[in-house]
């Protein structure tokens, strides 16, 4: 199908101009969840970390799980958008912006969860004043801030052409300040060959950079666990395992986001079954890799029979973690493979369900990496209250998880009101081409 700029602008202008009542209703509901989270945070700050489930033994809980989860989605978004752009995939048009938005929004939310874990927030600036580059925590701070800046630049580069189109579209009914803002952000882009060359060149550089940084940054996060002598963590496989898990969860989230925006903004013409199948195939490949890495990790630990590793694995198979383990490592791997692998099941709804199962499974996977290990230390603390040895989530932590998810959704909603949720410039460049990875 041929897409020209004016047709696309006509199609997407109402998305930016008009805001429905249901949009406000959903936004208000999410805002209520966010405010509930703020109340939880206020309770935590005034009463201390005793209101969370974290204690002397399990010093990390769902906050770290959420941090890993959101950072993972961010890196996945960066990798997917970077690869799609760099390899000039013909079907990237409707997908790439959503991947970019997942990257940047997750990257804003993820690191905030780290702050919730810190007992002495007033000493946070010590990390800047007294950095020790021997510490993986410092690597993480440097890596995340570098990644954030890189992703912002990449996102902005991909927006410039659309900002110019929004600036030049005279029929767009928006307040003057919005039009002035688009004009300012478009940097005077007129699609001259010289300007096009600059944008293409810099986008190519940044696409390559975000791919490399995403791999390095998520490996650094994995090394924080890998270099720690704890059962289940001290593993050489953790770097690549985390990268695969991150891309896997992010791909699942991309499918879910595609499904939601397709329904809400009626984008059936642009986001077709072929796009779902293509991203679904990526999900299948990643599911196989993730399953392989998971199996390798647990097999070597089980066979090695180091006492506490064995205790940890027994705990995963026999305790309250059993169902979470099954959901994470069996359903989370098998469902996407079955749904996408068997042609009969390969529908938009099924692929979306598989994507959703992937997202939930990978959250469980991170929980199983963090909490059971901390409950099974090599040297347990002696003579402490038995309830300090294990972890259970409190309402304060739940409120902040809800707030995180709400902010993720709210920022997506706000972004869709600021720029077209499908990149017009990308759609224009690849009008209906069916090559490369495009399927029949």
């Amino acid at each position: 199908m041929e897409y020209d700029s004016s047709k696309l602008m006509r199609e997407f202008a109402p998305q930016i101009e008009k805001t429905s009542k249901s949009w406000y209703l959903v936004f208000a509901t999410l805002l209520a969840f966010f405010l509930f989270g703020i109340f939880g945070l206020y309770t935590q700050i005034t009463k201390g970390h005793v209101v969370t489930g974290m204690r002397d033994n399990v010093v990390w809980g769902v906050y770290i799980v959420n941090f890993i989860f959101f950072m993972g989605m961010s890196y996945a978004g960066a990798l997917i958008s970077g690869i799609l752009y760099l390899f000039k995939s013909s079907w990237r048009g409707p997908v790439i912006r959503m991947a970019e938005l997942i990257t940047i929004i997750s990257l804003f939310i993820g690191p905030v969860f780290i702050l919730f874990c810190i007992g002495r927030l007033d000493r946070l600036y010590y990390l800047i004043l007294f950095p020790r580059i021997q510490s993986p925590i410092t690597w993480d701070v440097i890596a995340i801030s570098t990644d954030l800046i890189g992703c912002i630049i990449f996102l902005y580069l991909s927006f410039i052409e659309d900002f110019a189109k929004l600036r030049d579209y005279k029929e767009l009914q928006l307040p003057k300040w919005r039009k002035r803002l688009y004009k300012y952000l478009a940097l005077g882009y007129q699609e001259t060959p010289w300007q096009y060359k600059i944008i293409s060149h810099t986008k190519n550089i940044m696409a390559a950079m975000v791919i490399a940084i995403a791999i390095i940054v998520y490996s650094v996060l994995a090394w924080i666990f890998g270099v720690t002598l704890q059962p289940g963590w001290h593993s050489t496989i953790f770097g690549p395992y985390f990268v695969i898990a991150a891309v896997y969860s992010g791909t699942g989230m991309l499918i879910v986001v595609m499904w939601i925006f397709r329904k809400v903004y009626k984008l059936e013409e642009y986001i077709t079954e072929k796009h779902f199948v293509n991203v679904g195939v990526l999900l299948l490949i990643l599911a196989a890799f993730f399953g392989y890495f998971t199996f390798s990790d647990y097999l070597t630990k089980w066979y090695g029979s180091i006492k506490m590793d064995k205790v940890l694995i027994d705990k995963l198979f026999t305790s309250e973690y059993y169902y979470m383990f099954i959901a994470s490592n069996y359903l989370g791997v098998l469902v996407p493979i079955i749904v996408v692998g068997i042609k009969k099941f390969r529908t938009i709804t099924n692929i979306t369900i598989a994507g959703l199962i992937t997202v939930v499974s990978l959250w469980f996977n991170r929980y199983l990496i963090v909490v059971p290990t901390l409950e099974t230390p090599y040297f347990p603390i002696q003579d402490v209250r038995s309830e300090w040895l294990s972890y259970s989530v409190t309402w304060v932590e739940m409120s902040l998880i809800l707030a995180g998810i709400s902010v993720f959704c709210m920022l997506f909603m706000l972004a869709s009101k600021f720029v077209p949720i499908i990149s017009i410039s990308e759609m224009e460049k690849h009008t209906g081409e069916t090559r490369g990875l495009m399927r029949d």
Binding site: T146, I149, L187, Y322, I326
Partner: protein, 310 residues
């Protein structure tokens, strides 16, 4: 032909569906059965209370404090297996006619509840000098009442470590403290002397007490810590009349031991990071941030070019 193919596909799908359901049943049903059995156990537990055992032990520590240790367990009549009971509250008393409440403690994973009593506590004694300790559990919905008791005599141990004529000598003086603080030397009783090791106490000899006094020559070939320190312990262990009583002291009578450290010092703890790390990180950061700056310069040029185009 197409219908045949469709039929075949449906047949394959049905097989797959059956295998998938069977897999799910296999995954979840064993757990359901386990939980169902748990439920059955708890119902039967409600119908018939368990009769637990409460054993009470006492230890007089080197710093003169006393620990009362209650061990709470039950024995399964069918399997004859013994299980420790955790998270139950035990109350401790001293005395015979009028009981003095010493406090409460909760049993841990091993079924142990420990009550610590200060060194200056004045325990009531009977005419023979025995102190009567009791531990009580008041019972609950699942467990019957239980109690344990122990009678011990108070004992005073003095431990002296000195070199007499170039011989390292361990000297002990042991007295019973009876009613009204009457002290009677312990006679014709054997006392074990130990040296503390990493995981247990190593016996180095026995002293036969005569008029409450005895000596032992300390061996010259025992390894100590890096300064040669060893902990010498004089102890009665679960003695039927005194319970566990011990006295210890530290002295540099061991051979100085230099432990070989199999691990290299971790770079994380050094003041300055290793050079390779600084170089690697600098190259990476310069490379990445160099590209960022280049892209930003290009964007500035783009903005400046706006005027030219206009």
């Amino acid at each position: 032909m197409i219908r045949m193919k469709k039929k075949k596909t449906n047949h394959i799908l049905n097989i797959f569906k059956t295998v998938f359901i069977a897999l799910m049943i296999l995954l979840f049903v064993p757990e359901i059965f386990i939980h169902a059995q748990d439920g059955a156990d708890s119902v039967s537990a409600k119908a018939e209370k368990i009769s637990p055992n409460l054993k009470l032990l006492t230890t007089k520590n080197s710093d003169e404090t006393r620990s009362l240790i209650a061990v709470f367990s039950y024995k399964d009549s069918e399997t004859k297996q013994s299980f420790d009971i955790k998270d139950v509250t035990i109350t401790f008393f001293v005395g015979t006619d009028s009981l003095i409440n010493l406090g409460t403690a909760t049993t841990d994973e091993k079924g142990k509840a420990i009550c610590s009593i200060k060194s200056n506590f004045d325990f009531p004694k009977n005419e023979e000098g025995f102190i009567h300790f009791t531990a009580e559990f008041k019972g609950n919905d699942v467990l019957e009442d239980a109690s344990g008791e122990v009678d011990v005599k108070d004992l005073s141990i003095s431990l002296t470590l000195e070199e007499i004529d170039s011989v390292r000598t361990v000297s002990v003086k042991v007295e019973q403290i009876l009613a009204n603080n009457v002290r009677v030397p312990l006679n014709e009783v054997d006392m074990q002397i130990f040296v503390g090791r990493m995981f247990s106490h190593l016996p180095i000899g026995t002293i036969s007490l005569a008029e409450g006094i005895g000596t032992l020559e300390f061996p010259v070939n025992l390894p100590g810590d890096t300064a040669g320190n060893v902990i010498v312990i004089a102890k009665f262990e679960e003695h039927e009349e005194f319970g566990t009583v011990l006295k210890s002291d530290t002295i540099a009578w061991g051979i100085k031991t230099m432990h070989f450290n199999a691990y290299s010092p971790r770079s994380l703890w050094t003041q300055v990071a290793p050079v390779w790390m600084i170089v690697t990180l600098s190259i990476m950061l310069l490379g990445v941030w160099g590209h960022y700056i280049y892209v930003i310069i290009q964007l500035i040029l783009l903005k400046k070019g706006e005027k030219k185009i206009a």
